[in-house]
Symmetry: D2
Subunit: 392 residues, 4 copies
C-alpha cells in the first residue's frame, strides 16, 4: 500500500511546475490552429492584452515560447551590452545564477550577495549605486524559490529609478500569487511564468519590457535577432496583423489564456490572499511541529513556497521519498548549494488553499516521524487550523 | 453564411501547425506533474525511447523545449566551430535560411543553390566536396515546405559519408509522413518536430545526434552550455536518474508521447502510405482542374504538402481568404520570396487522408472560380477520386 | 490504404449521434462534482435557464438523464391517461413508433398515416379532430429522421389549440438546427436532445412541458413517480434549492451547458442558416449526380438530414461500407421498413457547414461509382458549390 | 478567504458522485462516434468484455444508459413477476427503498428490517426462507451508503442458493472498492456503477444477470420491452454485430472503458487495499478525535464510506457547510430518516488514498471545533497516521 515511483503522485505540493487548474488542462486540449490563421492571430492578441491587464500595465508583454529561463537568458542577451556594468543581487540560487547569464554580455559584473536565508537590503543597493555610478543595469530575483525568501523589489526599484539604473526583475515564482507587478516594482524587464502561481502550463514565459528597456535594446548592437532568444523578433508579434517570427506554441497559448482569465475572474486580491493564508498556516504548522523554517525571519518568507530546514540526523531525500511513498505527497528538493539542507513546500495556483497547508504539515511531519525524527504532527495541524480560523 | 476571420476554421489544410490527433489533444490535458517527480522522469525516459524507436535508431534523441527552429539554431551553434567550412544546400526558403544560422558560427559558408521549384543534385554535392576538401559540415533541408519539394537526402548522405563530412538534415516536415530516418539519411544531426506529420503539438523539437556529431560538439569550445540553445545540457536528460537542466514543457511531453505512440500503433508504413496517397490524389486533382503544380516535376513533389502556382491574374491572399470565407478551409501562404507565387495545401497527420485531397481540390477550385479564375472543379474531384480508387 | 472497421471514422456525417463541438468535448472533461454540492446545484439551475432561453420560453424545461427515447417514453407515461384518446401522426418510422408508447397508456389510439416519403396535411388533422371530438392528445414528430422529412408543426399546433387538444412534439432532430420552438409549435410537451443539432453528447434529453400539460399530468393518477421515467420527480430539480430525486449525469450536464452556450453565442439564426445552406447544397449535389432524394418533394426536405434513394441494383449497406472504406466518411442507414431503401446524410452541429455537403456528395458519389453505379460526382460537386456561391 | 457556495469544491470526499480519475475525464472528451459505426460497436463489445472481467464472470453484463437507480428499477421490473413473493432486506435507506420498487411488481413483499446502524444476520434470512418457502426472490443492499454499513452478501447468497431463491444485490457503492463480485455473492442480478469506487462518470449502470435470472425474466410476461427500463432490449447489445435498441450514451461508454481499464491495470486487490486502509485510518482518526462512528460496530463498517454521528448540540448541515466554507472539503449529508443524524465521508476511487483520511479528519474536526463542538484534531490526525504507518 505504498506508492511506488511508478505511481503518479496523489497531491503535488512542489515549488513548480505545479498542477494546472482544470480550466487550463481543458484549454490545452483545444484544437490546434494554423498559427497564421486570423482567428488564432486574434486569439493571440487578445491573450497578450489580457496578460497585460493581469500585469497591470498598458504595455503588451512579450511572450517567449519556452520556460522562464529562456526569458531570463533572452533578457540578459537583449539588454546588457558589452560596455555595461551590471549589479546582480544574490540572495539565493536563482539570483546568483542570473549573474552567469549577465556575465556573458557585460563589461563587469558587480554583486551584492547575502546568505541564502536572508534578503537584500535596499540600503546596500543604494550605497553600491552611489559607490559605482557606472552601474547601468541591476538584476534581482523577487522570490528566490530555492530559499523561499522574498526581496523588497519595490524599494530596490525606487533606488534604481533614483540612480537611473535599468532593472531586471525575476518574478517567476511570485507574480500571480503575490502583489507584485512590473510597474510597482519599477522593473524594466519583468520575467514571469504561467506555470507557477497562475496554475498554467510550463512552456511559455512572459516578459514585460518598459519603453526605457526597449530603447536600450534597440541601441544594443548585440541584441539577438533571428533567434529563439530574441526579444526583438517577438516584440510586435502580439499584433494580430503582424506575422509570427517563428511558430508559437499554440497549445501553450491556449493554456495561458485560460490561466490568465481564471486569475482575472477569481480576482487577483483574492488569489493573493489565499496564497498568503496558506503559507501563513503552513509556517505556523511547521513551527508548532518543532521544525525550523529556512528563512532567517518570518518577514522575508514567501507566500508561495515554504522552506523547511532538514532536521539534524535526517536526509532530505529520504524525507521527500517517505512523504511520497506513504502519502503520495510530493515536495520539492533544494537546489544547488541548498540541496540537502531544506525541503520546499509549494503553495501555488490550485494548491494555494489552506487545506493543503494541513496536508503539507501532515505529510512532512508524518514522514519525519516515520524516519525516527521528531515532529509533533498533531500540534502542527492544530496550529495551521488556528491560523485558518482567524482568517475571514 | 460566410466564415468571418473571428470564426474558427472548419478544416485546416495548412503546412503546419496542423491540428493534432484527438489522442494528442487529450494527452495535453493530463495533469501537470512536478518535473523531478520520479514518475515524470520515467515517463520522459520512456517517451524518448519511443521516439528513438520511431526514428529507427538506438540513440536516444535530444528533445529541446521549443519548436524546430530552436533545434536548427541549436544544431548550428553546437556543431559548427569557428574553423569550419560549411556547405549549405539551398533549394528553398528554409534550406536557404539555415545558412544564416550556419554563417554565425563558421569560418566560411559555401552554398549550392538551385531555383526554388527544383531539388539538389547529389552529383553537384559530390563535385563540390571534391573541389572543396576543407568542407567539414553540410546542411540540407529534406522537404523544403515553402516549395513543397524534396531533396534526395539518402544520396546526399552517402556522398557526405564518402567525404567524411558531417551532415545536418532538416526533416521537420517530412519525418513521420515519409520514409526518412536519421540513419538512412546518414544524418549526423537530424531535426524534426512532433507538430507536423506526427500530428502532435508545436512546443518541442526532436534532434537525433550521431556519435560522430557528439564528438564534434564535445570538441567545439563554443558549443553552448547553460542555455536553452544547448544540446549538451539536454544530452543526458532522457535518463530518469539525471536531473533536467531546465524545466521541460511537461504538457508538450505528454503530447509527444501520445503522438509517437499513435504513429507506432498505426504502423509507420501505413502512415506514410496515406500521406503519399493523399498527395497523389491532390496533385491529380489540381492538374485536372487546369492548375499548375509549383515543383518543376512530379518526382520531387512532397508527400506531405502540395504547392500550387497562383494562376495569372489572381492574388494568393484573395484565394486563401475566399477558401476560408466560403468553405472554412485554411491553406498556407507562401513564405519569403515565394510569398504570392503559390498556395500550399498540407497533408500532415490527421488530414493525411484521401478524402481531404478532394476537400482541398473543391475548396481551392471553388475559391479560384469564385474569384473569376478558371478551375474545373468537377474534373478535379473526379481525378482525385480516380487516384484513390486505384489504391488498395 | 482502405479504412478497416477497426479504424475510427474520418468524417462522420450521420443523422446522429454526431460528433460534439470541441467546446462540448472539453466540458465533458470537467471535474465531476458531488451533485448536492451547492456549486453544482447552481450550475444545474443556470444550465436549465440557458436551455429555456434557447427554447425561447420562460418555463424551465425538465432534463431527463437519458437519451431522447427516455423523454418520449416518459412523456407518454405522464401525459396520457387511461381514458384518453390519442391521435398519433405517422409520416415516418419515428412518428409511427411513438404510437406504441402511447398505446400502452391510452383508451384508444387513432392514427393518421401517410407514406413515409410524405408529410402530414394539417387539414387532415383538423378534419380528424372535428370527426373525433373525444381526442384529447395529439402526437407528432417534427422531423422524422429516418425519412428526412418535416411535418408542419406550427400549423398542426394551431389546429390543436383550436380544438383544445394537448400536443406532444418530437423535435429531437430539428431543434437547434431549424427554427422550431415549443411555444411557436404550440407544443405541450416538446422533446429534444443535446446530441443532434446542438452538437452535444447523447446522455440527456430536454422536455419543455407547458402549464396545461403539467395540469394534465398532475391529474393523471398513473403518471410515474419514484421512477427514472418520471417527469414529476424532476419537475423542480432545476431549482438550486431543491434536491435531485436521483443522481444527475454530472458530465452530461457539463456538456449540455457548453452546447447550449455555444448555440446562443453563435446566434440561433446563424446556426439555422448554416444547417439550411448545407442541406440545400447537398440536395443540389445529389440531384446533379443523377440520384434521387427520398422525400416526395423539396418543400418537406429537412435542413438537418438529407435522405437519398438507393439506386436500383445497388445495396445500401455496400454503399455505406464503401464510403467508409475508401474515404472514412460515415453515413446513416435507414431504419425499420426504410432500411435498405435509402442512405442518410446528416447535417447537424459541427458538420452543418457547406463544405461537408461537398464531402457528402464526393463520398456518396464515389462509393456508388466504385460499386458500378451511376453518379456524376463532378457535376454533383459543382452543383453544390453553385448553391454555396449564391449564399452571402 | 472563505469558499462561497459559488466556488467549486477544493476536495470532494462525498459518498458519490466522486470526482473521476483523470484518465476517465480525458476519455469523456473523446470524439463522439455514430453509435452504429463498426468501430464504436467493437469498442462497446470490448468495453463490456472488460467489465465482465472486472466483475470476474464470463457473462457479459448489461449496461443500462442511466445511473444505478435505473438499474435497480429495471431489475425489479424484469425479474419480479406478479405471482412472486419477495424478501427485501432492509438495514438502511437504500435497502428499504428497493422494497418500493419490488412492491410494484410482486404479489407480496416480505421484509427483514434491522436498525439502520446494524447489518442483516444471515441466520435470520435462513429462518425466514424456511418459514416462507413461497419466497422466490430476495433483495439486499451490500453496502447501504446512507449508513456506511455492509451486509454479509456472501453468506446471504449461500442461503439463497440453498433455498433456490433468486437474489438481487445492490453493490453500487462497494464493487470496485471492496472484494465483492456477482458470482462470489451468489447474485442473480448484481447492480453496480462506474461512478463510485471505479472513479467513472455517473450516467451508466452495470448489471450482471445470471442465466437463472435470464430464464426467470424470459418467463415473466411483464418484463419490460421497448423501454429504457428494459433489460431484455439491451441483453445482446454488447455484441458488435447486434444493433443497439436505443442510442447508448457514447461519451459515458468512453468513460466506463477508461474506468475499468484503470481498475484492471492498477490491480483490483491493490485498489481494494487502499480503500480499506483509507477507511481504517479515517475511523481511527474519528474515534481519536472523540467522535462516534455511526455503525453499531467496527466489523460492519464499509471500506468506501465512513459515517460519523453528529455530536450532540450540533447540526449536520452546519458542519458540512463549515468544512466547505473553511477548507473547501465536501462531505455527504445523510439521507431520508438518517438526514441530520450523521455526516458521511467517502473513500471512493481517486480519493481512496490514506492522505485523504487525514484530510477528512482535519476538515471534519476543524469544522466541529469551529462550531464550538469538541474534537481533538491533533489526536485524530496522529491516530490516522499511526494506522497508515502500520500498513506496508
Amino acid at each position: 500500500m505504498r506508492n511506488s515511483d511508478d505511481d503518479p503522485p496523489i497531491i503535488t505540493l512542489s515549488a513548480g511546475p505545479v498542477d494546472a487548474y482544470p480550466a487550463v488542462l481543458r484549454a490545452l486540449s483545444r484544437p490546434v490552429t494554423y498559427d497564421f490563421d486570423p482567428s488564432f492571430q486574434q486569439f493571440y492578441e487578445s491573450t497578450v492584452r489580457k496578460t497585460a491587464k493581469a500585469l497591470r500595465t498598458a504595455l503588451p508583454p512579450v511572450i517567449l515560447q519556452g520556460e522562464p529561463v529562456l526569458g531570463l537568458e533572452a533578457a540578459a542577451a537583449a539588454l546588457i551590452g558589452a560596455d555595461d556594468v551590471v549589479l546582480n543581487l544574490a540572495s539565493g540560487v536563482y539570483g546568483k545564477g542570473f549573474g552567469s547569464w549577465a556575465a556573458r554580455h557585460c563589461r563587469e559584473l558587480v554583486e551584492i550577495e547575502v546568505p541564502y536565508d536572508d534578503a537584500i537590503d535596499p540600503q546596500a543597493v543604494s550605497d553600491m549605486l552611489e559607490a559605482r555610478p557606472d552601474i547601468r543595469i541591476l538584476s534581482v530575483c523577487h522570490l528566490d524559490t530555492p530559499s523561499g525568501t522574498v526581496n523588497p523589489v519595490r524599494e530596490i526599484g525606487a533606488v534604481c529609478r533614483a540612480h537611473d539604473v535599468l532593472s531586471i526583475v525575476d518574478a517567476v515564482s511570485s507574480f500571480g500569487g503575490m502583489d507584485v507587478h512590473p510597474e510597482d516594482a519599477g522593473a524594466d524587464i519583468f520575467v514571469t511564468s504561467p506555470s507557477k502561481c497562475l496554475g498554467g502550463s510550463t512552456g511559455l514565459c512572459i516578459l514585460h519590457v518598459s519603453e526605457r528597456a526597449w530603447a536600450k535594446i534597440d541601441a544594443n548592437p548585440a541584441a539577438p535577432t533571428g533567434s529563439v532568444l530574441s526579444l526583438k523578433d517577438w516584440r510586435d508579434a502580439w499584433r494580430s496583423d503582424v506575422l509570427f517570427p517563428f511558430t508559437p506554441s499554440v497549445s501553450e497559448v491556449h493554456g495561458l489564456e485560460a490561466a490568465v482569465q481564471n486569475y482575472l475572474d477569481e480576482g487577483p486580491e483574492r488569489v493573493w490572499a489565499r496564497h498568503a493564508l496558506t503559507a501563513r498556516a503552513c509556517r505556523a504548522g511547521i513551527r508548532a511541529m518543532g521544525l525550523d523554517l529556512w528563512p532567517a525571519r518570518e518577514a522575508i518568507c514567501a507566500d508561495t513556497a515554504t522552506t523547511v530546514r532538514v532536521p539534524a540526523g535526517l536526509e532530505d531525500g529520504a524525507i521527500r521519498q517517505e512523504a511520497r511513498r506513504r502519502y503520495g505527497v510530493v515536495f520539492s528538493a533544494g537546489r544547488g548549494p541548498l540541496m540537502g539542507k531544506l525541503v520546499r513546500i509549494g503553495h501555488m495556483g490550485p494548491v494555494a488553499r489552506p487545506i493543503y497547508a494541513t496536508v503539507a504539515v501532515t505529510a512532512l511531519g508524518g514522514a519525519i516521524a516515520a524516519l525516527g525524527g521528531s515532529a509533533d504532527v498533531g500540534a502542527g495541524v492544530e496550529a495551521a487550523l488556528a491560523v485558518i480560523d482567524l482568517a475571514e
